[in-house]
């Protein structure tokens, strides 16, 4: 008895763990399934607004006013009856489906229908039982129309100038400064680095007003310069990000170049920069996004129409043409296309970059 017990006990236990494992595996599949379902539901919530944006941008004004939730823009077909355009319906009379025009609505939720070929014979039918005849009707011409309704070409050029000139200034100055902070020792360099990091916490409002006054006095307000020139003086985020990356480049490479007689500047240009492509691309992408979307500073510094960037132009467009929702959405779609493309072509850089920049904030 005892011997059998000691023999069977582990086997039974083994069976039990086997069954238990199966249970766990089943539970895992359950959690995976539930997770996927939750994520899918969330993704629909997240993407629907964007789909809706595109949908509205392809409707005409009457379709916008119909405000249907359908994402594919539809239109009621109309037929000429006695010289007037009336909406066409599929109607059911005596179990037979026919196409008829709705001439007018009648009390009690009914409508007066007639065959367009024979408009004198009318039928009074319950309106909600009949289905309107509709076709897909999209309006891509909204896009060129939106682009010409306001000088978006001009705004586009301005935005590009601000974005890329600022990006050049940022890359130039931040590389130099990050190199200085990553490779040189001096009594003040560490203190200056802490000072640099502390400016991340500084609300920009405490310097904005005097800067405005300064730019006003030197005649830069209402030019693109206040949005570009400050980029040539480095900023804490990008310096920190680049410095962290430069620190990972082995000092032996610097030393080897030094032995070959390279100056510090040559080391930066021929050793550090070529090895830091990923970091430089990351800060460049983030700068693009920032400059492309920025509304606050362009609103403050740019006053006349010809100098606006797309963000300010779009906001003003909305204020002026608020009845042309479809055109506003077309312009909005155009504005979000570059960030979306950039995002899909460089998502890994994006996601890593977010993490690293947030580390900078620490």
């Amino acid at each position: 008895m005892e011997t059998t017990n000691t023999l069977t006990a582990p086997i039974q236990a083994g069976k039990r763990t086997e069954r238990w494992k199966l249970g766990i595996r089943g539970a895992r599949w359950m959690t995976k399934g539930i997770t996927t379902l939750l994520l899918a539901a969330g993704a629909i919530l997240i993407l629907t607004p964007l789909a809706y944006m595109v949908s509205i941008s392809l409707r005409d004004r009457s379709q916008v006013r119909q405000a249907s939730l359908e994402l594919i823009p539809m239109r009621h077909i109309e037929v000429a009856v006695n010289g007037k355009d009336e909406p066409l319906y599929h109607v059911t009379i005596d179990g037979e489906t026919r196409e008829m025009a709705l001439l007018k609505k009648a009390p009690g939720g009914k409508g007066i229908f007639a065959d367009p070929a024979n408009p004198d014979v009318t039928y009074e039918l319950v309106l909600k039982d009949q289905t309107p005849v509709r076709v897909i009707s999209i309006h891509p011409e909204n896009y060129p129309e939106a682009m010409t309704a306001v000088p978006f070409g001009r705004y586009f050029i301005n935005t590009m100038i601000v974005t890329f000139a600022g990006m050049a200034g940022m890359l130039f100055s931040c590389s130099l400064v990050a190199y200085g902070f990553s490779r040189f020792r001096g009594r003040w360099i560490n203190i200056l680095f802490l000072l640099l990091l502390s400016t991340i916490m500084l609300p920009s409002q405490v310097r904005l007003i005097p800067l405005y006054v300064l730019f006003q006095k030197i005649g830069w307000v209402d030019t693109l310069l206040p949005l570009i020139v400050p980029q040539f003086f480095a900023n804490a985020y990008d310096v920190f990000l680049l410095r962290q990356f430069f620190m990972t480049i082995p000092l032996e490479l610097d030393d080897a170049a030094k032995l070959d007689g390279a100056s510090p500047l040559q080391i930066l240009l021929h050793v550090i920069i070529p090895m830091s492509r990923p970091a430089l691309v990351t800060v460049a992408i983030f700068h693009f996004l920032y400059a492309w979307n920025d509304f606050y500073e362009p609103l403050i510094f740019l006053h006349s129409r010809d100098n606006w960037t797309m963000a300010v132009g779009l906001q003003t467009f909305n204020a002026l043409y608020s009845i042309n929702t479809h055109l506003i959405m077309a312009a909005s779609v155009i504005m979000i296309v570059p960030p979306i493309l950039l995002f899909f072509f460089s998502q890994r850089i994006f996601m890593q970059g977010v993490v690293i920049t947030r580390m900078a904030e620490k």
């Binding site: 994520l39 997240i46 405000a67 200085g180 310097r207 005097p210 909005s332």
Partner: protein
């Protein structure tokens, strides 16, 4: 001899270092420190750019504390923060946990959820203005399908802030990515140790994941709070699109919006500078308070080592 040479070398090296960081030093003096001091000076003056500043001592500050709109702007900002920050934190943290699991297509999901956070600014705000339209907007139409009569959203002073909060929640993907990185940096040994001690998944979450994540959660909370005081574009564009900037009934008069109006609409540069310095003090205070209180509930790895 050798000593002097190495001394001069290190000195030469330091000089090169200062030369490389000089763009930032110059920028710091001209674009940060100088303007900060000037703005402090302006805050004690009446100043409209055209005329010379006129010294009024603490006048701007006493006026500020008696200005109902200043208090309104503080209230609006804090109300938004109270609604948006905790919900954003919970939502993005939950998403990060879901996306940290080994499920098929996880990278696609991460990409999708991250997407809205690169789409900020005017275009997306105008889209939400349309979605929130009380009559034509998709939000209220969907609510109607399930039998709820939707509110006036941006047109209703009671619902304008919740509308902006929903808009902000759409972009939680950015924080999600940060939490995801945090979750992935939790050492696997800790989970193994917990398993050996017989901890189930809930216990692992409670005693490993959560304590390891609190620093990240905490920093995001502080940064979110500071960020709320700079909140501008969405409020300006959304309220402007449905009526008056900061409206309806000043229900979206965020701190930074009121500061902007004082400076650039009313040309009250001194008054706006005083607002900027009060903001600076608030941010400083918040940062200090939260950092001080953090030792109560934030868990740092160093403490573990110390106790262990």
């Amino acid at each position: 001899m050798l000593n002097i040479r190495s001394w001069s070398l290190s000195r030469r090296e330091a000089a090169a270092g200062y030369l490389f960081i000089s763009p930032w030093i110059i920028g710091f003096i001209l674009l940060t420190l100088g303007p900060m001091l000037a703005s402090l000076y302006f805050s004690f003056n009446q100043y409209n750019i055209v005329d010379m500043p006129r010294w009024i001592g603490l006048g701007n500050y006493t006026r500020l504390f008696n200005d109902p709109l200043f208090w309104q702007s503080l209230k609006v900002t804090l109300y938004f923060a109270v609604l948006a920050l905790p919900s954003g934190l919970i939502l993005s943290f939950l998403l990060a946990i879901l996306l940290n699991q080994n499920i098929p297509g996880v990278r696609l999901w991460r990409t999708l959820y991250f997407l809205p956070s690169v789409l900020t600014g005017v275009a997306v705000t105008l889209l939400w203005v349309l979605l929130f339209n009380p009559q034509m907007g998709a939000v209220n139409q969907v609510l109607e399908l399930i039998g709820i009569k939707g509110p006036g959203w941006l047109n209703d002073p009671d619902w304008s802030i919740p509308a902006l909060v929903i808009m902000a929640l759409w972009g939680v993907g950015q924080n999600m990515i940060i939490y995801l990185a945090g979750l992935q940096s939790v050492p696997a040994e800790l989970y193994d140790a917990a398993k050996v001690d017989g901890a189930g998944r809930v216990m692992q979450f409670r005693h490993v994941t959560l304590p390891m994540m609190t620093p990240v959660l905490f920093y995001n909370l502080v940064l979110g709070l500071i960020g709320t005081f700079s909140y501008f574009t969405q409020a300006y564009v959304a309220s402007g699109a449905v009526g008056e900037v900061g409206g309806p009934l000043r229900s979206t008069l965020f701190y930074n919006l009121y500061l902007y109006q004082n400076a650039f609409d009313y040309r009250e540069m001194g008054y706006a500078s005083a607002m900027a310095w009060v903001l600076f003090a608030i941010v400083l205070l918040l940062t200090l308070v939260v950092f001080r209180s953090s030792s109560l509930w934030v868990y740092y790895e160093g403490e573990l080592r110390g106790k262990g």
